[in-house]
Amino acid sequence: MSLATTAVEPAESPLTPESWGKLGMWVFLAGDAMSFGALLAGYGAIRAGSLDWPIPQEILGIKLTAFMTFLLICSSLTMVKGLSAIKHGDSKGLVRFMLVTALSGLVFLGLQAYEWTHLIQHGLTLTSNPYGSYLFGTTFYLITGFHGAHVTVGVIYLTIIALRGMKGKYSAENANGVEIAGLYWHFVDLVWILVFTFVYLI
């Protein structure tokens, strides 16, 4: 049972600096998933223990948020198209798709701002809720706000990628930065689907 021989076994992963960034982003997303996980678990615990939790559909506009969800899923598609464009050496396609993706994120944020103002006008705030438990409003704003912050960061991130694309920083061989941004953006979309399900639908 001995592995100690003169033969050099290469380390499992070769030294590829290109892959560091990708792995780093995966690791970050694992940690970030835990913060969303903690918020959603806290939300679940509070809701399960509440006697006057309102039915979300009666307060929140499902049609609007269903459209927002659709928009975000579509933006994941344009993200994939952008990566595919640059992998084929199409720098203009990359910029175009990145801008479309960032714009979708921006529209999402605009709709969220509209939704929030509308709800606040109807009395649902961080500390008040005319329809039942105050914590409905608290958890709603905290979780959607935390997600909205991620979308904001994503829009800035994608805009930077688009700007760098315009300067010709990416090519078919050098598309790693785009792929890493894509990981982040898909994560933000995926989390939204969980938020939409738990906060709006169930």
Binding site: G24, A38, L142
Partner: protein, 616 residues
């Protein structure tokens, strides 16, 4: 990726850099490691000082502190006798608004109950988050990972630098809490709601807010650190450095990085809720508003129990590195050690409820947590017996690193065994929130982590600073730490069994605790000796940095990669990227020319000994 190119730039364009780039905003992992070390060594004096103030109050309740307190005659007659008396006399004659910082916290040198609460809260917070974590993980993680896996630096040097300076920012915010009106956080390091969530209970306003903000900021720093550690260990190992050839300290840091990554965001989320409760008037942890104070406990301990392993696993790794070197034997059961580390890390996630046996949980749930907690003793025992197996029949020598490593093993056994008592729901009902708990956690975190920290500091000091630490002073420091440590913390078991409460301001107000006055005085005197003998370490550390004997490249005759490069290692660590041929502990291989075979030596150990080397 930008950071990847940044690494290349650092290494190729490195000429002599300016002071700022070399010492302050350095991207070199070795300099960042030293910065973390200094941060920890600075904070340890604050954290330790708070503990000594606590011990004064417990031994001599509501008596003026020595040196700065008012004299007995002054307290009796009101006639100032000394300059301190006159100081207190003028302070007390002022109005509340004009009184100084000291007078608000300890008028005439007597610690107030409110300040006492802040003392124990901040002692734990500082020791855990700003001493053990920066030194064991920030310093030794940064220093050892690239050197021991054969890499030039971390994967993301800029992120690494940011991680340090964000930790400093968190430290400044935490210290600032001492200065704000209302005093620092006083709800215990566990910050149980509603004590922490509503300022009316403790009277602490911005102290607790700053505590929260500081830990959120520190969470960002740790997140950056763990991303760096995980990526570096997975992707930057030298050729031949397979996972099963990694030194055990790297294994432990890898697993700790994963725990940090997954645990700290949970704390951050919980603290965000706490801050909303405090600042925005929400009711997450307020039952009157539909919230649940127990939710804080669940979230906190879901972070908090992995955190305990975050504190102890690096020290276990350090000891697994040091015992083979000074026994001249391979580590006993390398694979079992790796599996045990992973097992502890996994089980750490499903035991948090054992901190909450008294919270009124369903007894069936309590029993589940009891069993999962007791399961942890299995991997812990595997590690302990493997350490003993490593020592067995070895050619043992006792320089300072070895003494501290042996102290770790023996103190960890005591702390581990007392942990099993608490894991039992029935026993825990009796000892919950008593000094038994205080004894246990100090045997694990001081007896474990801090002795591990000293062992690591003594062992790697030559590599870090290029000089040996003075051996005589090191040994004096060890014995002046080891003996007072046991005198301080062992009697706390006795107090705990006697019902001495954990966070009590003045035990003498209870008749049944008055019998413990002698023990409390004994403990406090031991604690003062323990605290002041750390000055020996401090002196030795800085004296040796400049005046110590010059160290050669491999002073301990160890086998791992950091000892193959120059002392101290150059920028970029290795002149030529090393190639690895063996596991980390090839000591006393039968037939080999010398009693240690470096990981980089291309020799066929199998052929020499006839039956293979010492394993992987």
């Amino acid at each position: 990726m930008t950071s990847a190119t940044a690494v290349k730039e650092v290494h190729t364009t490195h000429e002599r850099q300016g002071f700022l780039k070399t010492y302050i905003f350095s991207l070199d992992h070795k300099m960042i490691a030293k910065q973390f070390l200094l941060l920890g060594l600075f904070m340890i004096w604050i954290g330790g000082g708070l503990a000594l103030l606590l011990r004064w109050q417990l031994a001599y309740p509501e008596q003026p502190l020595p040196l700065i307190g008012a004299s007995e005659q002054y307290l009796e007659t009101g006639e100032p006798q000394s300059s301190m008396d006159r100081f207190w006399d003028s302070e007390l004659s002022k109005s509340d608004d004009e009184q100084g910082w000291l007078t608000k916290r300890m008028p005439v040198g007597i610690i107030t109950p409110a300040f006492y609460n802040a003392l124990f809260t901040m002692h734990a917070t500082i020791m855990i988050f700003f001493v053990v974590m920066p030194i064991l993980i920030g310093c030794f993680g940064n220093f050892l990972i690239p050197l021991m896996i054969g890499a030039g630096d971390m994967a993301f040097p800029s992120l690494n630098m940011l991680s340090f300076w964000i930790a400093v920012l968190a430290g400044i915010i935490m210290i600032a809490g001492f200065l704000v009106p209302g005093g620092h956080a006083a709800s215990g390091w566990t910050a149980y709601a509603p004590l922490s969530s509503d300022p009316t209970w403790t009277g602490v306003d911005w102290g607790q807010n700053l505590w929260c903000i500081s830990l959120v900021v520190l969470g960002i720093s740790s997140l950056m650190g763990s991303i760096n550690y995980i990526t570096t260990i997975i992707n930057m190992r030298a050729p031949g450095m397979t996972f099963m050839r990694l030194p055990l300290v790297i294994w432990s840091l890898f697993i700790v990085a994963i725990l940090l990554l997954l645990a700290l965001p949970v704390l951050t989320a919980a603290i965000a809720m706490l801050l909303f409760d405090r600042l925005a008037g929400t009711t997450f942890f307020n039952a009157a508003g539909g919230g649940d104070p127990l939710l804080w406990q669940h979230l906190f301990w879901f972070f908090g129990h992995p955190e305990v392993y975050i504190l102890i696993l690096p020290a276990m790794g350090v000891v697994s590195e040091i015992l083979p070197v000074f026994s001249r034997k391979p580590i006993f059961g390398y694979k079992a050690m790796v599996l045990a580390l992973s097992g502890i890390a996994f089980l750490g996630w499903i035991v948090w409820g054992h901190h909450m046996f008294q919270s009124g949980m369903n007894p069936a749930l309590g029993a589940t947590f009891m069993i999962s907690t007791m399961l942890i003793s299995v991997p812990s025992a595997i590690k302990t017996f493997n350490w003993l197996g490593t020592l067995w029949g070895g050619n043992i020598t006792f320089p300072a690193p070895m003494l501290n490593a042996l102290a770790f093993v023996s103190m960890f056994v005591i702390g581990g065994l007392s942990g099993i008592y608490m894991a039992s729901t029935v026993v825990d009902i009796f000892i919950h929130d008593t000094y038994y708990i205080v004894a246990h956690i100090h045997y694990v975190v001081f007896g474990g982590s801090i002795f591990g920290l000293f062992a690591a500091a003594y062992y790697w000091f030559p590599k870090m600073f290029g000089r040996m630490m003075n051996q005589t002073l090191s040994k004096v420091h060890f014995w002046f730490t080891f003996i007072p440590f046991n005198c301080t913390f062992f009697p706390m078991h006795i107090l705990g069994i006697g019902g001495h409460m954990r966070r009590i301001y003045n035990p003498m107000q209870y008749e049944f605790l008055q019998q413990f006055e002698g023990w409390n005085i004994f403990i406090s005197i031991s604690a003062f000796v323990l605290g002041f003998s750390q000055l020996i370490f401090l002196f030795n550390f800085f004296w040796s940095m400049f005046k110590g004997k010059k160290a050669d490249d491999n002073p301990w005759k160890a086998t791992t990669l950091e000892w193959t490069t120059a002392t101290p290692p150059p920028h970029g660590n290795f002149d030529v990227l090393p190639t690895v041929y063996h596991g980390p502990c090839e000591y006393s291989v039968p037939g080999a020319k010398k009693d240690f075979t470096m990981q980089t030596e291309n020799v066929d150990l199998q052929a020499m000994s006839g039956n293979g080397g010492n394993g992987a």
